[in-house]
């Protein structure tokens, strides 16, 4: 077997299988079918119109297929801006009109250009003018984009405006500002914003070409359920997590439970804040996922959950295979009307 063939086979083994859906059916059923192909769950807002749609996608990635579903429906959307903190966990389709953004798909990932922003500023640091292209990266089910505040980074960027000029930022592109506004825009907790600085250009004419790579840290994720009883243990790829103590207390907001978990590593220990995503589901939670405000002391982590009764279980997202991914994207003739 040649080396090239071996590499191709290994790569194919790591890529998830392509998706083919060619049928007419109830929108909710087709969404469920897509979600099941990736072992995930997609929530539908109750106001999304229940109707039949016809879809034809062949050998597509996850977001390509999801976009085809939403496009066919016309009244379901997941790309709405959401700048709340903490960012909402879980994946939900909202009852909003589908909006066609310039999109680039690579495997199950999607990048889209959300918009262009032009800046002109006069500050105590100097004067300046520049533009930004805000590129949103969507991570698929099972792969988590980590540390989204400073992740991803641009690599090998090409940016040509409608008049053929190279508008990549250079040493003369000075960002002189006291306040950062409109730099990044957010969606759910598995998206990242690549905010590309460029020389000023005519926003209404758009860009002839924008291509490059988004370099980011990602991890495979899997949900692990722990029963809330002292001594209960769950095996994970990096070792095990065990419940050591459960303490009940109460304050003006009602009852709460503090759980202490102990991590026993298998092989080289992974720092707990990289190993576990503390956006968790638990028995009795008010939301699909909640941030559990972890307190980490070495191999111990204490989390707090609020529920009307003692929760029977907690489900944490465990990360493995943390790696750097360079995600290519390419857009041609991007003009917003």
């Amino acid at each position: 077997m040649t080396f090239a063939l071996l590499i191709a086979l290994l790569a194919a083994a790591q890529d998830p299988p392509k998706i083919t859906i060619e049928k007419t059916g109830a929108f909710a059923d087709l969404v469920r079918e897509l979600a099941s192909k990736r072992g995930t769950k997609i929530e539908l807002h109750k106001d999304i119109e229940a109707k039949d749609i016809t879809i034809s996608v062949r050998d597509a990635g996850y977001f390509e297929a999801l976009d085809a579903l939403c496009r066919a429906h016309g009244g379901a959307n997941y790309t709405e801006e959401n700048n709340r903190w903490p960012r909402p966990a879980g994946f939900t389709l909202n009852a909003k009109p589908w909006v066609e953004y310039p999109a680039s798909h690579h495997g199950d990932f999607k990048t889209m250009i959300e918009g262009f922003v032009g800046f002109r500023t006069r500050s105590v640091d100097g004067e300046g003018a520049w533009a930004r292209a805000r590129v949103i990266v969507f991570g698929p089910p099972g792969v988590k984009i980590l540390g989204t505040d400073d992740n991803p980074m641009p690599v090998d960027i090409e940016a040509i405006d409608a008049d053929g000029k190279d508008v990549r930022a250079d040493a003369a592109t000075q960002i002189n500002e006291q306040t950062e506004v409109a730099v990044r825009t957010f969606r759910d907790d598995n998206t990242a914003c690549l905010s590309l600085v460029m020389k000023p250009f005519d926003l209404s004419k758009g860009l002839r070409t924008l291509k490059g790579k988004a370099s980011m840290t990602v991890a495979d994720v899997a949900d692990v359920r722990l029963n809330v009883e002292s001594g209960q243990r769950a095996e994970i790829s990096a070792g095990s997590l065990a419940v050591t103590t459960v303490a009940e207390s109460r304050d003006v907001l009602g009852p709460k439970w503090r759980l202490t978990l102990k991590y026993e590593p298998k092989g080289k220990p992974v720092p707990l804040d990289r190993l576990v995503d503390f956006y968790a589901r638990y028995d009795g939670s008010r939301h699909e996922r909640e941030y559990l405000s972890p307190r980490i002391e070495g191999d111990l982590v204490e989390i707090e959950v609020r529920a009307p009764h003692r929760p029977a279980w907690v489900e944490l997202q465990i990360r493995s295979n943390v790696r750097t991914l360079e995600l290519p994207f390419e857009f041609k003739d991007v003009v917003f009307k």
Binding site: E81, G115, G118, R250, D251, F336
Partner: protein, 392 residues
């Protein structure tokens, strides 16, 4: 006493500036306001007696008086303002920096100037900020007021209207225009950053910036409000911040006919008095009363990960400054051996829900909780008006 007679009793130059408050030219009115506001506050009683039918002059006189009263209050709390007097013609820049630094009790350095660079500079009883701004203008330079020194570097930077008030300097520091385009959407926004800056060596010096710059109005050239809400495509707004400065960002309508006029006030809290509060933990009643507040420790739990507790109050705390009264959000837990262990604050402020603190594991028999609580703030309220503001 008539206005004319009162003016006659003032020095001729002051009378001239009072007259110029009614000038047709904005720049002249602004300069007159600035000059009068920088006078000795001893002039307050005399200026208060001036009567005029000119609305613009009356408004500006009231503004000057408000500033002079604020300055008098500042001097009373923070002590006399450091001032500098220098007369330099063709003197070596290095020597002038050294002399000015001594006068202002600041470490003043030049970076990027020729060794034989010279400067012309005239200062007369100028405050720190007046002196630094004049120095930068004279040297065709800009300065950075850093944590432990002031550095002067070549190259002028854009200037903005400034209000000097004793140890403080209030000014817009950024004007920005944003144009956004997306699918079916094209919008613009204007952004203004206002800043209140203070000198480092004030006593008291601990600041708490809860909402340190308050904007009351932004008015365009037609007299209409130009204030705007933030924009939904704006993402998160983050201020860079500078040492010894409080900043505030406001959004304005970028299409409002300029120039704009901004009115507001600073609202900076400085700690005047604080005391140590102790909450016992070895009995049943884990509480201590201080004034109107009963501090209570709730939810004290110990686990292999350490100790966590909530410091709350029995009362609903209505004091809007309560969130800033715990000095440094610092809490110390003392064990039976008398050893103190620093806590880590996670969230919350004093009130019925309280503040969550955690401590490392291994603390034997916690006995008491100790923290410092501000009992008196001084509130620095300096009214300001800036005119001639143009969004790029």
């Amino acid at each position: 006493m008539t206005a004319l007679l009162i003016l006659a009793l003032l020095q001729d130059d002051v009378a001239g500036w009072v007259d110029k408050l009614a000038n047709d030219d904005i720049a002249t009115r602004e300069e007159a306001t600035r000059r009068l506001a920088s006078m000795d506050p001893a002039a307050i009683e005399t200026l208060e007696k001036i009567k005029t039918d000119d609305l613009e002059q009356r408004g500006r006189l009231d503004e000057v008086l408000a500033i002079l009263r604020a300055r008098r209050k500042l001097a009373g709390v923070f002590g006399p303002t450091k001032r500098a007097t220098i007369s330099a013609r063709g003197r070596k820049l290095g020597d002038v920096l050294a002399e000015l630094g001594r006068a202002l009790d600041e470490k003043l350095e030049g970076d990027g100037f020729a060794a034989d660079a010279t400067i012309d500079l005239e200062l007369k009883e100028s405050t720190l900020w007046e002196s630094l701004d004049a120095l930068a203008a004279a040297a065709k330079a800009h300065y950075e007021y850093e944590k432990d020194r002031v550095v002067l570097r070549p190259g002028r930077r854009p200037s903005f209207p400034v209000l000097y008030a004793e140890q403080f300097r209030v000014s817009p520091v950024e004007l920005k225009r944003l144009d956004y385009i997306g699918p079916g959407k094209r919008e613009s926004a204007g952004v203004i950053v206002l800043e209140a800056r203070y000198q480092r060596n004030m006593k008291p010096g601990q600041e708490v910036f809860h909402n340190a710059v308050v904007v009351k109005s932004v008015v365009d050239a037609s007299g209409d409000s130009a204030a705007a809400d933030g924009v939904e495509w704006g993402g998160i707004t983050l201020l860079k911040g500078r040492p010894f400065a409080a900043q505030k960002t406001i959004f304005v309508n970028p299409e409002a006919p300029g120039p704009l006029r901004i009115e507001g006030t600073t609202d900076i809290l400085f700690v005047l008095d604080e005391k140590e509060i102790t909450v016992p933990l070895d009995g049943e009643a884990r509480e201590t009363k201080e004034g109107d507040i009963t501090f209570i420790v709730q939810d004290l739990t110990s686990s292999p990960a350490g100790i966590s507790l909530t410091l709350a109050s029995k009362e609903n705390v209505r004091d809007e400054d309560a969130a800033n009264r715990m000095v440094g959000h610092a809490l110390t837990l003392f064990d039976a051996a008398g050893k103190g262990h620093a806590g880590r604050w996670h969230r919350g402020s004093i009130g019925r829900v309280g503040m969550l603190f955690t401590f490392p594991p291994g603390i034997e028999k916690p006995q008491k909780l100790v923290f410092r609580w501000v009992t008196k703030f001084h509130r620095v309220e300096i009214p300001f008006t800036f005119e001639g503001i143009q969004i790029p």
